[in-house]
């Protein structure tokens, strides 16, 4: 392997180049349009010192975690049922294919009317963002399963309930996992939208509200936080997949490293 192909080398080069470019932009357009790295760091420190940053990150994270977990827990059995029961599938598929094109953000105002301004509307929104992705992936997994697996289980005397528990769910696990992992991404998108429109806490609120003070550096801080939050939760989830779900054929990272 050449030295430039080493992971830490390529990652370092990428970051240094990005920061240089960023600094260059800041010099050209001025700090009010593009706050440079240093200025952003200062802004970040400000927000850390008065405690708002950690609080906002925590709030956004909890919202995502709760909505995403509840949404997934609801979606997995629904996906399994739709995948297994033909009659259900005939009715559910057109509906799924219609509603999945409506982005979560489009539901924000409606959810505010239905669930109020509090936490429920945000969690409902994230559940919505999670639900259809996980249902569709689970459904695909059930349909992709080989008939031979069901047949062999049946001829070895497994009951329908045992087949669901010991054959269908394990065989579908990689699909469920992928769905749940993708849903994490859409959950972040949904929460930021919701916090911008209808919240006075959270990272989305920070980004949206900073415009009032013309603090573009705080906006940058918010963007970085989102990037890191997504990155680390995805990594954590990837690690979980590799370690715990290895035997089900789950590949840990979206980009397979050789």
């Amino acid at each position: 392997m050449k030295w430039i192909e080493r992971k830490w080398v390529s990652v370092s080069i990428l970051w240094v180049a990005a920061i240089l470019l960023w600094q260059l932009g800041a010099l050209i357009y001025g700090p009010d349009v593009i706050p440079g790295p240093w200025r952003t760091l200062q802004g970040g420190r400000e927000l850390v010192m008065d405690g708002t940053l950690m609080q906002y990150i925590g709030i956004s994270f909890i919202r995502v975690l709760v909505g995403w977990t509840l949404g997934s827990l609801l979606a997995i059995p629904v996906g399994l049922a739709i995948g297994r029961v033909r009659l259900l599938r005939i009715f559910a598929e057109p509906f799924l294919n219609f509603i999945r094109f409506i982005p979560p953000i489009a539901f924000i105002t409606l959810f505010l009317v239905w669930f109020g301004i509090g936490e429920q509307s945000k969690i409902a929104l994230i559940m919505y963002a999670t639900f259809f992705i996980v249902v569709l992936n689970t459904l695909t997994g059930v349909l992709a399963m080989e008939e031979d697996k069901l047949r062999s289980a049946r001829s070895m005397g497994a009951s329908e309930w045992q087949i669901l528990l010991h054959v269908i769910i394990p065989a579908t696990t990689p699909y469920i996992y992928t769905g749940v992992r993708l849903a994490m991404g859409t959950s972040y998108m949904a929460i930021i939208g919701a916090e911008m429109i209808a919240s006075n806490e959270g990272v989305g609120y920070l980004i949206w509200n900073s415009r009032l003070f013309f603090r573009t550096d705080w906006i940058f801080v918010g963007l970085f936080c989102l990037g890191f939050m997504g990155f680390f939760t995805d990594r954590l989830f990837g690690w979980f997949g590799r370690k715990v779900l290895y035997r089900y054929g789950v590949v840990g990272s979206a980009v397979r490293r050789g």
Binding site: E146, D148, R151, S152, A153, R154, S155, G157, V167, P170
Partner: protein, 258 residues
Amino acid sequence: MSLPAQQNTIHIEALRKSYNEQASGDVRYIIKDVNLVIKGGEFFILLGPSGCGKSTLLNIIAGFVSKSGGHLRIDDVEVKEPGKDRAVVFQQADSSLFPWLTVRENVEFGLRMKKTPKPERRRISDSFIGLVGLTGHENKFPKELSGGMKQRVQLARVLAGDPAILLMDEPFGALDAMTRRTMQKELIRIWRETNKTVIFVTHDIQEALLLGQRIGIMSVGPSSNITDIYDNPLSFPRDEASPEFGELYNQIQSHFAR
């Protein structure tokens, strides 16, 4: 625990299968007027060209596919669904084995479904893993095994359920010639040790002659049935270079050349 050879006789009378028998007009049969008696403990071969309905017949005997008419009885009991008296070894081990289970867990699957106590399960899986020559590979996953070894796992897995009848659908079709030869010898050894009834589907005349005591020839579909039955009195192990073998081979070969 093998049963007396006179038991588990399979009676097939005027069996037929169509996917549009209810439709008015042109009814197409996959198999029609199939009559056959297979004695307990016999090694029976279903030989015929691709697409002649061999697998359909096997799947009906397995209970996976329902018959359109006629009778299929095992010891005077009409067969309608899969049962633990019949076990199936599929052509594709990859689609029928459970990749999330180790070799041992695959072999113990049926026993676990029956809630056999763990020590008993262990004892049975040990003995059948030994019988198929996989001792030392118990903790490997199917993807770590070669094609031949996977078929050994399938064999051990079905034998662990102590079925009276083994239904084998071109189980060595996907193996290379050398592995196939080994597996054929192994199968004969295991059949003689366990005294099972075997119905073995193949389109390979040589394989049919190496394994079977009787060979049922299926005609080309549609509406195919068993046109001739050849006895193969040669003793095991069989020598494909012997003149008797060659004579039988030519006989069957000329049957298909007609």
